[in-house]
Symmetry: C2
Subunit: 283 residues, 2 copies
């Protein structure tokens, strides 16, 4: 049986640290503030936004949720973002995905000023990550949270064989960059990879972020490997499940994140951590 | 025997295309202009700069070489760069490496305005590359030139196993990004990788950029693989040689770049190509 990586517990610990950092910042006259912009918004977006808002408030971060109509023009949305860019009381700005199809998401991503880009999606922050910059800059929260998990569970990275399944800008690519910066040997496999499982079976660290339920089973995992499941999928009965088939993976992996209770809670805790870091760096 | 990838011939062809593009731009009233800044400068830098200058002139690109004293302060250098950033007649700005140790190279890299960043090193351009942006942006010339070589020699990338040896910001990392964007399965190995050659032996496309003469021999290459040697090393007798041991690699590889006459000529031809692209995009 694998050691379970308890994301819920770790998020609790990280949130407690964030709370202390918030109190310290407040004592120095800065109250961290996060603005979440939601355009139109479906049920899932509403839940995500509500969870972020609640967590921010719990930690003493000012959370402002700006709800905009699904019919807002791109120019109007850019104006709203620019208002927050200029507002010194705001430290983090996040535009909730997905956006209506008439709005170009990369344009929105570039519009958020890099120093308030709490999602870490602005190309200038991605570029700093990918060039292993020594400066302070935000990083996509899910992979950053995964690095925190690996550290907390004493998973070495230098010289280890890390395989990332999926090449999204939100998880796969920044995860690869973080692990490369941490001196792992890094392979990115994806939908066009031939014999993907030949790679996953060799991974000391396996991060799976595809959105395909149970793509990876125990047979695809190296015995003793650390397996990070980023999936938030629904099984046939509508239950939340991961990209990794838990029961069989649990027999083979050395360390394993459950779904739910693994990566998910760490992503939101990392968002809070990063909001406070942005506030601190703004000093 | 491998098919040799003739970088010299290919560079000639690319330069001819660039010349046509320059003539077209001139007809529309724009003369592409490249500024190369050299600070102090050793013998090697002088040779590189002279080669760039000569090639630019041959192609009808205005080339301005600005020689600054090795004792110039960082602030003064930043001022010089800013003058060229503001000068509408300048389309590409390049600061020749290496810089004196009192100057912080990443700061200089970030100072060149992204639209004139002909080396493609500014984080905002790196970020566009790593997020696979659909916009026009410059890319590090050596890996961009390698992509041109792969295309010219009809080397497929999608689904192929690409292994990059070396993780520098100039070659290894942007090469990995370009190949990932081209749907290869991409592995980056480096000095901390355990059993590096277990990876190189599986590569369909192998790009070696380490600066270690003859690190890779025929025994480390998959039969039929495409091998790109970025090395510009000196052997014990002082002759130019690559990171790949040519004679043995030639027996195993399907396609192979020689040193000299492989990647080298393509890098400078790509720099010219990109200067003209920047001029075109500035319209």
């Amino acid at each position: 049986m694998a050691e379970l990586i308890d994301g819920k517990q770790l998020a609790k610990k990280l949130n407690a640290e964030t709370k202390v950092a918030v109190d310290e910042l407040k004592a120095s006259g800065i109250t961290p503030k996060l603005v979440v912009i939601i355009v139109g918004g479906d049920g899932a977006s509403e839940i995500y936004v509500r969870n972020k808002h609640r967590k921010a408030e719990q930690l003493g971060i000012i959370s402002e949720v700006t709800r905009l109509s699904a019919t807002i023009s791109q120019a109007e949305l850019l104006e709203v973002i620019e208002t927050y860019n200029q507002d010194d009381s705001v430290h983090g700005i996040l535009v909730q995905s997905p956006l209506p199809s008439h709005i170009d998401e990369p344009t929105i991503t570039r519009a958020i000023t890099p120093t308030k880009d709490v999602d870490g999606f602005n190309p200038v922050n991605v570029g700093k990550l990918y060039t292993h910059s020594a400066l302070n800059f935000p990083v996509s929260c899910t992979p950053k949270g995964i690095m925190t998990m690996l550290k907390a569970y004493h998973v070495p990275t230098a010289g280890k064989n890390a395989v990332i399944v999926g090449r999204s800008n939100i998880v796969g690519r920044p995860m690869a960059a973080l692990l490369l910066n941490a001196s792992a040997t890094v392979t990115v496999v994806h939908s066009q990879t031939k014999d993907m499982k030949a790679y996953t079976r060799e991974a000391d660290i396996l991060v799976v972020a595809t959105g395909i339920p149970h793509l990876i089973t125990g047979a695809d995992i190296k015995p003793g490997a650390t397996v990070i499941d980023v999936g938030m999928d629904r099984d046939e009965e509508g239950h939340l499940t991961g990209d990794v088939e838990f029961e069989s993976a649990n027999q083979v992996a050395g360390k394993l994140t459950p779904v739910p209770g693994g990566v998910g809670p760490m992503t939101i805790a990392t968002l809070m951590q990063q909001t406070v870091e942005l506030a601190k760096w703004s000093e």
